[in-house]
């Protein structure tokens, strides 16, 4: 077998680390880039190149891939009272601040390893402030903190105040720790309750570049 066929086979093996959908879409063009960058007679992937592919493949599988880009993003911290912060730190979910991050296309909600949801903005049907008294079922327990799940509803909070109810127009799969579950309604405790509601409501959305009549 020729050197380039060997190299290509090894690159393909590395690209198998990526999620299937990404591989289906990009494998051929990434392979073309890798082969174009290879030296004459090179048989094995360079260590740095291989490590870089594995790193990004894992990030993508874990839903952590942001490509290192922070463009047009607005972050709303999830409010966490002092006892909850201590508890979350003890469970290892407090290392990265719990937050709702909004880009022009997605709403990303994260509470450490315990909860992660990436929701397309067009899937958000409505958002409104919620009083604690409106909570039903097991969510009525006032001391509930952290990540709680009731069929198709997730309560992700670090405090009992500043709650925002986000309703989706259809169920989305979200991560509850290592488990995936369908979610139609999400309740989060926001430090800036009214700001988060205003940003989430579809009426406040505008397409990039809109609203500049000067051009």
């Amino acid at each position: 077998m020729s050197d380039s066929a060997d190299l290509e086979r090894r690159y393909r093996r590395l690209l198998a680390c990526y999620p299937h959908a990404f591989r289906h879409e990009h494998e051929q063009e990434i392979l073309a880039v890798l082969m174009a960058g290879a030296d004459e007679g090179q048989q094995r992937p360079r260590l740095g190149e291989a490590a870089n592919l594995i790193k990004h493949a894992l990030w993508m599988r874990l839903g952590l891939s942001r490509g290192g880009i922070m463009i047009n993003e607005t972050t709303f911290p999830i409010s966490v009272d002092r006892p909850s912060r201590t508890l979350m730190t003890a469970f290892g979910a407090g290392r990265k601040a719990p937050r709702v991050t909004m880009s022009s296309s997605t709403v990303d909600v994260r509470m450490g390893w315990a909860f992660h949801a990436t929701i397309p903005r067009e899937s958000v049907a409505s958002a409104r402030p919620l009083n604690r008294g409106e909570l039903r079922g097991p969510f009525r327990i006032s001391v509930l903190r952290g990540v709680n799940y009731w069929p198709r509803t997730a309560l992700v909070n670090g405090a009992g105040t500043g709650l925002v109810e986000i309703t989706l127009n259809r169920s989305k799969w979200v991560w509850l720790g290592p488990l995936r579950a369908p979610m139609r309604r999400l309740i989060v405790s926001a430090e800036d309750q009214s700001g988060l509601v205003a940003e989430l409501n579809p009426s406040s959305q505008r397409s990039p570049g809109a609203g500049d009549p000067s051009s």
Binding site: A32, M35, G48, E49, M60, G67, I71, S105, G209
Partner: protein, 106 residues
């Protein structure tokens, strides 16, 4: 915005390019300082596409390999222009504080 992202958008500002073209162009415009690896490039391209800052321009088959060309969207052009203006303003302040006398002359 990270430097790699800024460089990718800059590379696409002059017209559509395929993956390897972006890597070589970024290396050239950064005077060899930024060498993008394939994993980093495609993670960034995926994200930029999701944010609608770039889009697929066209696809070609060259030597039986797929080449997908990307180009800036109007929104991508605006984001790049805003970031370039921000960097320019920061650089101007830094230079004026480092050389107050020179800054006064201009």
């Amino acid at each position: 915005m990270q430097e790699a992202t800024f460089m990718i958008l800059t590379a696409l500002a002059a017209g559509g390019q395929h993956g390897y073209g972006i890597i070589t162009d970024v290396q050239e415009i950064s005077a060899g300082r930024v060498h993008l690896k394939a994993g980093t490039l495609y993670a960034a391209l995926e994200r930029l596409r999701a944010d609608k800052l770039i889009e697929v321009d066209r696809e070609e088959i060259v030597d039986s390999r797929l080449r997908r060309y990307y180009r800036l969207t109007p929104a991508g052009g605006e984001v790049l222009a805003a970031e370039a203006a921000r960097l320019q303003a920061n650089a101007r302040v830094a230079m004026s504080r480092l050389k107050p006398a020179a800054g006064a002359v201009t």
